[in-house]
Symmetry: C2
DNA sequence: TGTACATCAGTGAACGCGCGTTCACTGATGTAC
DNA sequence: TGTACATCAGTGAACGCGCGTTCACTGATGTAC
């Protein structure tokens, strides 16, 4: 009954009447508030009522916008992954440069540490991410693969026979659509795990008091990885292409 | 008044009367319970009352053993670091082998993921670890330094000039007591961050569904690191020493 | 343009719950003489 | 060995609190004719 007769409906099915527009804006503001609150006390301390109060509303009002507290959090996790996926795709689209992609990832992490930890931090035992999030995570992986696969020979310089791990990957490459060589897959995994290691320890504050600049450690790890297995960028030319 | 006239006191000042012995045992059991509960729902969900109930006690009874819930958690964090420090020291004492040390670290992490995340996972904003914990963390770092420093030239094969990051470390090496070379420090940092990256992504479940064996990725990273910067163990002899 | 109606954002009261923590107490255990 | 006393682990009631969530409601906003 009372079907809308005007065409406030876009191609994607989203309504755009004045009420819908207002709804979308308030939803965004609520998330904004939630992020701010999480940055202060961590994700597990996120309180539905507290967010409402900070919005100038009473608690129950939030149920107009999110089905439950868990729904809000899931939405935030999804937004975090979405944001990372978009950032990485933009980097790859600007040119398949793994170094640029690495720096984009670190910049994204530094911009909002809690957002980074929401995606890659301590998991809640028993919680399983809905499929939608898994799909966005796959996009992230696809960007990394694209950055490396576009380079000649997957970014690898002249090299020897396959390592045991590459041989192992030969039989487990479904996650890469089968387009990349085992050597490239191994490279991408090193890229991901090393950058995550350096960035997460930095963000968690494990380097504070040690004096060195985490940005330089990160750059050094990137150099190590990208100048060929084990040859640093600075010494690559004279040493490894005789 | 009523000073103990017997000598139920050890060299370290700990009393060992029957009551003190009982106290220590119950304290240990409470921690045991807390660990179990944390493994099920995460650290932030640790409830004082729930632990007491699982112990067959009422909530207030726990205050005989821990000053507060925060005190309990701090104690657990301290025990986690203590356990890691002991594990690593044992490995280094058995011989300064970085590969063995790396495997010991991973085994320690796999044995209790929540324990690993309590030490290296998402930090609680605003929380600062007490000095005692920082001191134990320094022990962990010392073991890593010892494993690498004991190798000839800090475990480095023939190599070129210092990289920019090593030059940077030259001016920021207080955290290593000044005993190790910048090249060794850089090596230790790579060791730590890479292993943390691989292990934490594995424990957080980010590799599930990808098919490959995380243990092999870990071993490959260790190989990469230990066979010289960028030269894999398997191909080192034929490929890079012309 | 004006009127009648439907929609729906937000309120305020209330729900049951589990939390950390305090307090005065009881009763068992160990200690001193 | 027996008795008087001090210690202290654990209880049960109570505290105030904030949580997520429900419900019936009001009043403003947009819609249809």
């Amino acid at each position: 009954m009372a079907e809308a007769t005007n065409n406030d409906t876009q191609a994607n099915g989203a309504k755009t009447g004045p009420r819908e527009r207002y709804r979308a804006q308030v939803r965004a503001e609520i998330k904004e508030c939630a992020w701010r609150q999480m940055a202060e006390a961590g994700a597990s301390a996120l309180s539905f009522n507290a967010v409402a109060k900070q919005m100038g509303m009473t608690g129950p009002a939030l149920y107009r916008y999110f089905a439950s507290r868990d729904d809000l959090i899931t939405e935030l996790v999804k937004d975090a992954y979405r944001s990372l996926a978009d950032t990485m795709r933009a980097s790859v689209d600007a040119g398949p440069d793994p170094a640029a992609l690495g720096h984009a990832m670190r910049a994204w992490a530094l911009a909002d540490p809690q957002r980074y930890f929401l995606a890659f931090g301590t998991p809640v035992p028993g919680y399983h991410a809905p499929g939608e999030i898994t799909r966005i995570a796959d996009e992230v992986m696809a960007s990394m693969l694209a950055a490396f696969a576009a380079l000649p020979a997957g970014g690898l310089p002249a090299r020897g026979p396959a390592t045991p791990f590459e041989t192992h990957l030969e039989g487990h490459r479904e996650w890469a659509d089968g387009h990349a060589s085992p050597a490239t897959l191994r490279r991408v995994l090193a890229f991901w795990t090393r950058l995550h290691g350096a960035v997460s320890l930095e963000l968690a504050g494990h380097f504070t008091g040690m004096g060195f600049d985490p940005a330089r450690l990160f750059a050094a790890e990137l150099d190590d990885l990208l100048a060929g297995v084990g040859v640093r960028a600075e010494e690559a030319a004279p040493a490894t292409r005789p």
